[in-house]
C-alpha cells in the first residue's frame, strides 16, 4: 500500500516546480495603426485569427434589445453581391471556418483558414463586416429562428434561473436583461434597426486582435489592414457601469420538473481590481468548476446531493458579481441552500489552509500551459487577454504572481469576497420546504 503512495509523493515533490508557459508573443502594429498579438507556429499550414469588439448587446436600447445578436447572426447571411446561399457557398469553397458571435459585452469574430487562401478569406470576411446585406428574407428567416429560441428558453429552467438572477441583480441596466432580447423586441426589429446596431458595434476603436499559426508579423499586419479597410473608426459609446442590487433572500419560480435549478450569489470583484487574481485563486479552492473544490466535496462527494455545483467570478466590462449554479432533486433544494450558506460562512470566517493554498498554487501554475495547446486556443487567448486589459508579458509572469500570494492575502480576500448575509438565491422548480 505505502509503496505506491511514497512513489506518488516523491514524484509530486520533484515535479512541483511550475512549468513555464513559454508562449512567445509578438506585438504587431499595422500601417493603419491596428494592434495585434501574434504567436507564430509554422508546423501546420493554417492561421487562426480572432477579433473581439467591446460593446456587444449592451449597446442595444431597451426597445431594440436583441438587435446586436440578430445583426451578428446576419453577418454570415449575405454581403456585397452575395446572398446568403452564395456567401455560404464561398465560405465552403475556401474551406474556411468563420464564426460571428454576440455576447453581453462583445461581438467576436473567429477565423480559421488555410494559409494558401489567406487573401481570399480576408476579402470574404471584410465583405461581411463592411457590407452586410440584411436582406428582408434573411431577416425574416433568422429572426424566426431567434424567436423560436426565445420561446424555448422561456421553458428552460437553467435559462429562467439566470434571467431572474440578472434581473434582480441589475434591474433596468442592460445587464439586467437578456442579450437576445424578448419576443416583443425581436419581433419588432427591422432592417433599419440592424443597420444601426451594425454601426454601433463594428468599429476600429474597440477591437482587440489575436492571431496564431502559419503567419509572420509583416504578413499579419498586411492582412488586418486589408480586413479593416472600410470599417469606421468609431462606434457607439459604451454604457455606464451597473451596480449589483439584488436584495438578500430566496426567490422561487415555480416550474414543473424533477429538479430545482439554483442560481446564487452576490456582489463581486471588478476585473481591474488589483486583487482580482487573489479572488480568482480563492474561488478556485471554493467552487471553481473542478472536482476538488469545497462545494463539490460537501454537496456531491459527501452527500450525493448534486451532479455538479460550481461558482464563478462574473466580472464583466460594466459590472461584477460572484455567482454559482447547481441542480438538485426538488426534495433536496432546502438542504442544499443550507449547505451553500454554511460553506459561504465558513470560508469567510476561517479562510483556507496553508495546504489548500499550496495545492491550488501548484494546480493553477501547472495547468496554465494547458490553455495554449493549439493555434485556435492561442489566438482566442491573445484577443481575450488584450480585451481584459492584460500586459503582453502577463502570460510569462502570471505563474509567479500566483506563487507570490500569501495565506494572509488570500484569506483577507476570502473575508472580503464572501458575505453570507448578502446571498441571493433564485430557485426554479418545485422545491420542497422553500417558498
Amino acid at each position: 500500500m505505502t509503496r505506491f503512495l511514497a512513489l506518488a509523493v516523491g514524484v509530486f515533490i520533484t515535479l512541483a516546480a511550475p512549468l513555464r508557459a513559454e508562449v512567445a508573443i509578438t506585438p504587431v502594429t499595422s500601417e493603419s495603426g491596428l494592434q495585434a498579438w501574434l504567436v507564430e507556429e509554422r508546423s501546420i499550414p493554417i492561421v487562426a485569427l480572432d477579433l473581439i469588439f467591446a460593446g456587444g448587446a449592451n449597446l442595444d436600447s431597451d426597445a431594440t434589445a436583441g438587435a446586436t445578436s440578430l445583426m451578428t447572426a446576419l453577418l454570415s447571411e449575405g454581403a456585397g453581391d452575395m446572398d446568403a446561399q452564395a456567401f455560404a457557398a464561398r465560405t465552403e469553397e475556401l474551406a474556411a471556418r468563420i464564426s460571428f458571435d454576440a455576447g453581453r459585452d462583445t461581438v467576436s469574430v473567429s477565423l480559421r483558414f488555410l494559409t494558401e487562401d489567406a487573401d481570399e478569406v480576408i476579402d470574404h470576411v471584410r465583405a461581411a463586416l463592411t457590407d452586410p446585406r440584411f436582406d428582408d428574407d434573411a431577416i425574416a428567416r433568422v429572426r424566426g429562428q431567434m424567436l423560436s429560441k426565445l420561446r424555448r428558453d422561456a421553458l428552460d429552467p437553467n435559462t429562467l434561473a439566470s434571467r431572474a438572477f440578472a434581473q434582480a441583480a441589475y434591474g433596468d441596466h442592460p445587464y439586467g436583461r437578456v442579450s437576445d432580447g424578448s419576443v416583443e423586441t425581436v419581433a419588432a426589429l427591422d432592417r433599419a434597426a440592424l443597420l444601426a446596431a451594425h454601426e454601433r458595434a463594428i468599429a476600429r476603436d474597440r477591437v482587440f486582435i489575436g492571431a496564431a499559426g502559419d503567419i509572420d508579423a509583416p504578413e499579419l499586419a498586411r492582412l488586418i489592414d486589408r480586413l479593416f479597410d472600410g470599417i469606421p473608426q468609431e462606434g457607439a459609446p459604451i454604457p455606464d457601469r451597473a451596480a449589483f442590487a439584488a436584495a438578500p433572500g430566496v426567490d422561487v419560480i415555480p416550474f414543473d420538473g424533477p429538479q430545482s435549478v439554483i442560481a446564487f450569489g452576490h456582489d463581486g470583484i471588478a476585473r481591474d481590481d488589483p486583487d482580482f487574481l487573489t479572488a480568482f485563486v480563492v474561488n478556485e479552492v471554493f467552487g471553481g468548476g473542478r472536482f476538488g473544490t469545497r462545494l463539490m466535496e460537501s454537496l456531491r462527494v459527501q452527500r450525493g446531493l448534486t451532479y455538479g455545483v460550481g461558482s464563478f467570478l462574473a466580472s464583466g466590462l460594466l459590472g461584477e458579481s460572484y455567482q454559482g449554479r447547481m441542480s438538485t432533486d426538488n426534495a433536496n433544494a432546502a438542504a442544499a441552500i443550507d449547505l451553500l450558506r454554511e460553506e459561504w460562512a465558513r470560508i469567510a470566517q476561517d479562510g483556507i489552509s496553508e495546504d489548500d493554498l499550496s495545492r491550488i498554487q501548484t494546480y493553477l501554475t501547472g495547468a496554465y500551459p494547458l490553455r495554449f495547446d493549439g493555434n485556435g486556443a492561442i489566438a482566442s487567448s491573445m484577443a481575450s487577454m488584450q480585451y481584459q486589459g492584460f500586459d503582453i508579458d502577463y502570460v510569462n509572469i502570471r505563474n509567479d504572481l500566483i506563487d507570490a500570494l500569501t495565506l494572509d492575502q488570500v484569506n483577507a480576500m476570502a473575508a472580503r469576497l464572501f458575505d453570507v448575509d448578502a446571498l441571493y438565491f433564485v430557485v426554479v422548480g418545485k422545491p420542497e420546504g422553500l417558498e
Binding site: M1, F4, A8, V11, F12, L15, P18, L19, E41, S43, I44, P45, E77, A84, Q85, F87, A89, E92, A95, R112, L114, E116, R141, S148, K149, R151, R152, A154, L155, D256, P258, Q259, V261, R290, F291, G292, R300, Q302, R303, G304, L305, T306, Y307, G308, S327, T328, D329, R359, T362, Y363, L364, T365, G366, A367, P369, L370, F372, D373, G374, G376
Partner: protein, 450 residues
C-alpha cells in the same frame, strides 16, 4: 474548372506534408494492452488516455447504468490510493482529468504537463487491476448518478425524447437502453455489482492506451512497457457478445408530449451500417450523404429546400453516426415554422429526400463538400486531444489504425452515384422510428405533465 482542380491538388499536398510531420505509432504489450502514440511537440502538454472495450451495451440484465456507475467509482480509490486521491494528485500536478462512458467503451483521460506522464501512467495502471472502495464511497455516488440522470436527461425534454426514440429503434439490442441507465434499475445498483463488472471486463488485454502530445515515441513506449507491462492480463475477458437485432418488419412511430417543449420537431432515426475494419466504403458514402443533405445550415439540401425555398422549416437536419461496434444510425429531422403541422413538415421532408434520390447530386455542392473534408484533415492536426480521441474510439469499436488513417481517403473515393445508392435505404421506413416532440394536445398528457 481548371482552377478548382489545381486547388484540390494543392490541398492534397498540404495534408500530406502535415501528416508526415506527426507520426502515429501503434503496438501491443505482451499483456495485451494496445498502445498508440501520437507525437505533437508544439506545446509541453500530453494527453494520456486509457480506453476499455466495454460499455453500457455489455451490462447484465437489470443492471442498466452499471458501466457508467463503475466509471464514477474508478475515482474512489485502490488498494494503495484513497478515495478521490487520483484526481487530487492530477490536480496537484496541474492536470485536468475526467472520464466518459459510451455503449461500446469507457475511457479515462488526463491532460497534464508532459514531464508528469509517468505519474499518470502509474496511477492509471494501478486502478487497472487494484480498484478498492467501501460502501461509504459507493452509496453517495449512487445518489450522484441519480442526480446526474435528473439533471442531464430528465430535466431536458429533448434528452427524454431521444431516449424514447432509441428505445423504439432497437427491438432487442442494448443500444436501446440509455447509457446512464433506467432510473428504477439505477436505484438498485450496488458496489458489488460494479466490482463484478470490473472483474469481468477490466484489464490490459481489454484496453487501449493512447498517448498524444509532447513525447518522444520511443521513450513513451519504454515508459508504457515499464509501468503497464507488469499488470497481469485478466483471464475473465471474453469476446464481445451481445443480443442482436431481428429483422425489422414494421416502422415505429411515437409522439412525445410535454409542457416544456418550446420548439416542436420531427425526428427520424434509421438503423444504418457502421464503419467496418477494412470495409468503410458504405459508411463513407453515408457520411457524404449526411453532409450533402444536412452538413451546412445554409447550403445543404434540406436547409436550402425546406428553409430557404419553401420557408416551412426553422431548421432541418441529417446526420450519420457509424462509429459504433454493432449498428449505426442515420437521422433526419425538421423543426417547422409556426403554423406548419408536424405531419405536413414530415411529408415535406420526405418529399425533399425522395426528390434528391431521384434527381441526383449537385456536382458543385459535392465538390465543396470534398474540399472541406480534405481541409478538415489539416484542421484536425491543431487539436491533439481530438486526434487522440479518434484513435481511442476507433480501436475501441474494432477498427484498425489503417481504417482511422484511411477515413478521409475513403470519403474522397465516394462518387455521386455511391451517395445515391447508399441513400436508397432511406426510402424503406421499416428500419426506422419517427418521433414527434410536441406540447401536450391530449388531456391525459396535460395531467401527466403536472
Amino acid at each position: 474548372m481548371i482552377s478548382r482542380l489545381t486547388v484540390l491538388v494543392v490541398i492534397g499536398l498540404l495534408a500530406l506534408r502535415a501528416a508526415q510531420a506527426d507520426p502515429v505509432t501503434h503496438t501491443s504489450l505482451d499483456n495485451g494492452l494496445e498502445v498508440v502514440v501520437i507525437e505533437d511537440r508544439r506545446a509541453p502538454v500530453v494527453v494520456h488516455m486509457v480506453w476499455y472495450r466495454v460499455g453500457a451495451a455489455d451490462e447484465p440484465p437489470r443492471q442498466s447504468g452499471i458501466a457508467h456507475f463503475l466509471e464514477h467509482l474508478m475515482f474512489k480509490g485502490t488498494e494503495s490510493m484513497d478515495p478521490g486521491e487520483f484526481s487530487r494528485v492530477v490536480e496537484a500536478n496541474g492536470g485536468r482529468d475526467n472520464a466518459f462512458t459510451s455503449w461500446d467503451y469507457t475511457g479515462y483521460f488526463q491532460r497534464v504537463a508532459s514531464d508528469r506522464l509517468d505519474l499518470m501512467m502509474q496511477m492509471e495502471a494501478d486502478r487497472m487491476a487494484n480498484l478498492s472502495f467501501t460502501e461509504d464511497d459507493w452509496r453517495p455516488e449512487r445518489a450522484v448518478i441519480l442526480e446526474e440522470r435528473g439533471q442531464v436527461l430528465e430535466s431536458r425534454v429533448g434528452g427524454q425524447f431521444n431516449e424514447s426514440m432509441m428505445a423504439a429503434l432497437y427491438k432487442s439490442h442494448p443500444y436501446g437502453i440509455p447509457i446512464i441507465g433506467w432510473r428504477h434499475e439505477m436505484e438498485t445498483l450496488t458496489g458489488q455489482n460494479a466490482m463484478d463488472f470490473y472483474a469481468q471486463h477490466y484489464g490490459p488485454n481489454n484496453a487501449i492506451l493512447v498517448i498524444a502530445g509532447d513525447v518522444d515515441t520511443a521513450q513513451a513506449l519504454e515508459m508504457a512497457q515499464q509501468i503497464y507491462g507488469p499488470v497481469p492480463p485478466n483471464p475473465a475477458i471474453a469476446p464481445v457478445s451481445r443480443v442482436m437485432e431481428p429483422p425489422h418488419l414494421a416502422e415505429r412511430r411515437l409522439v412525445f408530449e410535454d409542457a416544456r417543449v418550446g420548439t416542436p420537431y420531427v425526428n427520424r432515426m434509421y438503423l444504418a451500417p457502421v464503419r467496418r475494419a477494412g470495409d468503410q466504403a458504405q459508411a463513407a458514402a453515408l457520411q457524404m450523404l449526411a453532409a450533402l443533405l444536412g452538413g451546412s445550415s445554409t447550403t445543404s439540401v434540406l436547409e436550402r429546400r425546406l428553409n430557404f425555398e419553401q420557408g416551412i422549416a426553422l431548421s432541418a437536419w441529417a446526420g450519420y453516426n457509424g462509429m459504433s461496434r454493432d449498428y449505426g444510425t442515420f437521422t433526419l429531422g425538421i423543426a417547422p415554422v409556426d403554423g406548419v403541422s408536424l405531419e405536413d413538415a414530415e411529408a415535406a421532408l420526405d418529399a425533399v429526400v425522395a426528390e434528391f434520390l431521384e434527381n441526383g447530386v449537385d456536382q458543385a455542392q459535392f465538390d465543396r463538400v470534398r474540399r472541406q473534408i480534405r481541409a478538415s484533415e489539416i484542421y484536425a492536426l491543431d487539436d491533439v486531444q481530438g486526434r487522440a480521441r479518434q484513435y481511442g474510439v476507433g480501436l475501441s469499436i474494432g477498427l484498425g489504425v489503417d481504417d482511422i488513417d484511411g477515413w478521409v481517403d475513403a470519403l474522397d473515393a465516394v462518387t455521386p452515384d455511391d451517395v445515391i445508392a447508399a441513400g436508397q435505404f432511406l426510402l424503406d421506413r421499416r428500419n426506422s422510428v419517427t418521433g414527434y416532440l410536441t406540447q401536450p394536445t391530449t388531456p391525459s398528457a396535460s395531467e401527466g405533465a403536472q
